[in-house]
Amino acid sequence: MSESRERQSTDGGRARAVFTGIGVVAPNGKGTEDWWAATLAGKSGIDTVRSFDARSYPSQLAGEIKGFDPGKRLSARIVVETSRMSHFALAATRMALDDATVDLSQIPEYELGVITANASGGAEFGQRELQKLWRGGPKDVSPYMSIAWFYAATTGQISIGHGMRGPCGVMVSEQAGGLDALGQARRVVRDGTRLVVTGGSDSSLSPAGFVSQLPTANLTTVNDPARAYLPFDTDASGFVPGEGGAILVLENADTARERGVDRPYGELAGYAATFDPRPGSGRPPTLTRCARAALADARMRPEDIDVVFADGHGTAEKDRQESRTLAELFGPRAVPVTVPKTTTGRLYAGAGALDTAGALLALRDQVVPPTIHVKNPVAAYELDLVIDQPRETVLRTAMVIARGHGGFNAVAIVRLAD
């Protein structure tokens, strides 16, 4: 190994981790390039709920994935054994591994890992089996319930489906989980795993899963798809839930290069997580500290960041907190900020992974995808929000923010690899 290569590929003695594959199943696009084109075009996947009748509920919109036939993408056995959240992730895994053009049989099985995030389990599978139990009794419950409903279902099935026998794990920190999975995947790479399938997906869009979200009062009750989810807008009224997510392939930079990857999408250069104090404690939220820790981890300064993929909660309090962090960190209107999840709704564990996919493609194409539907950004937030149209600009680094219900914060920084 040459000296210069050694210098490039380690970070203070730790292995660098680069993204080499992307797979996406999202409400506005199935397949990475379809989704990315839709995202740049501002095409929304948010609509009135179709998979069940939501007319009696105060919130009636969702970012549903329509026309997804798992039987066309997965084996018949896997389709019945798993729930929708896993269908999306397993399909996205195939896309990501194809995109990475990797022959897994050429990598030692214990150096292949799987770290995914999940927030709410196989909700529609769970509701179906709960109904069978309480209508018919325990004998009616499917033998697959035990392996489909729980949070580790997706990681287990990816490991089995692809013979990946190295470190496997599952992060659950609601919407922050997608980034926590990437952070853990990078730890695993630093500990000697060559390739990790990571990311997240969720689907809680059964009646019980949907209704379970209503008591938070975070879902908007504005049921016009164009006016519903408006992060950082004066008319912000909450968010729209969605389903799906993204799966990414994260690899040791050295071994990726050795197998011929000349141009990875980018490096996971920084990551940090914090937790907000209990409401009413009088202590300040911790997002600013989280972002600073991620910058320190990446050995970067705020001015090194070229674009921010914000969490964009869509409620006034959380929007104010996040915009304050961005203003403190970068100064007023100093960095482009975007919320492409305005086209999908919030995807829970899928969100951090999907935004990271968006950030990597933004770096590839030197373009910031737009925040849609926002017409009147709150002036006091002092954000340079990229609205309506994509913005072409020079991009080398991106910050991705994900915040989970209850107080979870995670920040990731990706940069173009050398």
Binding site: F150, G156, V170, Q213, T216
Partner: protein, 423 residues
């Protein structure tokens, strides 16, 4: 130099048959099983009607009415165990930078108990697919997302560092400690409140295990229902509970003069990439996890004094695990005790891994090996020393604990007494 040296400076345990660390230890060295006919709901009509339940009065453990209304049973177990661990550690959490205190909670099935109860109401016992949202209680979303368990631990402790739930099924309780050790090693926290909790004794989870015939059918012999390594074993018995620890880097613990129960020196997890619930008899991936964890700990098989078995009491597990231990420890496997406390306190899914680490830390502390209850006649395929029926006094400087779970995950964790860890 080791890459992992984490001190356990506080322990809290909520387990069937005795609440709190001391009662837990008394229970598992007694050899008396806490498994019994299910009382949390009427199990009539279920294939398995036995479980290891906790008799729990939240108010007696310092929880307010609003606490226990808001929290699912699993979260209640987690915070009560955390309180005990923090008090035990002598750590002044309030005097610390909260940003340097992290929380990692392992959990397998989330807030299933609370979720199922509320589902019954919303759906009118399954009559309505389009559930009635007007019956949704304020805490419903916290039951849908198990991250709420970590939220409760962080709120109660005031932690503001990295916080998450690690949910890899039945190895979660070991994996959470491995994750926490990673946070300490990389400098993301000075203290991690780490452990795991689960409360799965609800109709839906019992029905799940019925459906795959994994649970014991000794309904007429509840205290003898879980028989790990016995030729007549018929499956696992569900349990519930939590164990939480105060974890610190060994240097920090030494600097503040803390009592250290044991050091965590090695951890690894591997996957069988084979089947969600099935195990191949050779146990090769668990053997690999053990070997990697030992290497990380810079210990040889001959250094290991005790193996805390996964020992779930299913036909395939006990055989699988016996093979894995023989492959990884070689002849040493036949020289050392290996016992299953699940025989007494059941299999609490995501919680049990941390509860078993607590058992190892206490075994190191007391130099006593807890026994495997209900082991009367060893399965010929299980030919190790499983410490049947009665506890054994013996010097224990190091312990290995293993876990195996749905998804094919196999985890191993290695602990050592302070003097052994310093050697």
């Amino acid at each position: 130099m080791r890459t992992m040296d984490v001190a356990i400076t506080g322990i809290g345990v909520m387990a069937p048959g005795g609440l709190g660390c001391d009662a837990f230890w008394d229970r598992i060295v007694s050899g008396g099983a806490a498994t019994r006919r299910v009382s949390l709901f009427d199990p009539t009509g279920f294939r398995c009607q036995v479980a290891a339940e906790i008799d729990f009065d939240p108010a007696a453990h310092g929880l307010t009415p609003q606490d226990w209304r808001r929290m699912d049973r699993a979260a209640q177990f987690a915070v009560v165990a955390m309180d005990e661990a923090v008090a035990d550690s002598g750590l002044d959490l309030a005097g610390m930078d909260p940003g340097r205190v992290a929380v990692t909670v392992g959990n397998a099935v989330g807030c299933t108990t609370g979720l199922e109860e509320e589902y019954r109401v919303l759906s009118n016992d399954g009559r309505q697919w389009a559930v009635d949202h007007t019956f949704a209680v304020p805490q419903l979303y916290d039951y849908l997302v198990p991250s709420s368990i970590a939220t409760e631990v962080a709120w109660r402790s005031g932690a503001e560092g990295p916080t998450s739930v690690v949910s890899s099924g039945c190895t979660s309780g070991i994996d959470a400690l491995g994750y926490a050790a990673g946070l300490l090693a990389e400098g993301s926290a000075n203290v991690v409140l780490a452990g795991s909790a689960d409360a799965p004794i609800s109709p839906i989870t019992m029905a799940c295990f019925d459906a795959i015939k994994a649970t014991s059918t000794y309904n007429d012999d509840p205290s003898g229902a879980c028989r790990p390594f016995d030729r007549d074993r018929r499956g696992l018995v569900l349990g519930e509970g939590a164990a939480m620890f105060v974890l610190e880097n060994a240097d920090d613990a030494q600097r503040r003069g803390a009592h250290v129960y044991a050091h965590i020196l090695g951890y690894a997890t591997r996957a069988n990439g084979f089947h969600m619930t099935g195990l191949r008899a050779d146990g090769r991936e668990m053997a690999e996890a053990i070997t990697v964890a030992l290497n990380q700990a810079k210990l040889d098989p001959k250094d290991i004094d005790y193996v805390n078995a996964h020992g779930s009491g299913t036909k395939q597990n006990d055989r699988h695990e016996t093979a894995a231990v023989k492959t990884s420890l070689g002849s040493r496997a036949f020289e050392i005790p290996m016992s299953s406390i699940k025989s007494m306190i059941g299999h609490s899914l995501g919680a049990i891994g941390s509860i078993e680490v607590a058992a190892c830390a206490l075994a190191i502390e007391h130099d006593v090996v807890p026994p495997t209850a209900n082991l009367h006649e060893r399965d010929p395929e299980c030919d190790l020393d499983y410490v049947p029926l009665t506890a054994r006094e013996q010097k224990i400087s190091t312990a290995l604990s293993v876990g195996s779970g749905f998804g094919g995950f196999q985890s191993a964790i290695v602990m050592a007494a302070p003097d052994k860890a310093a050697a």
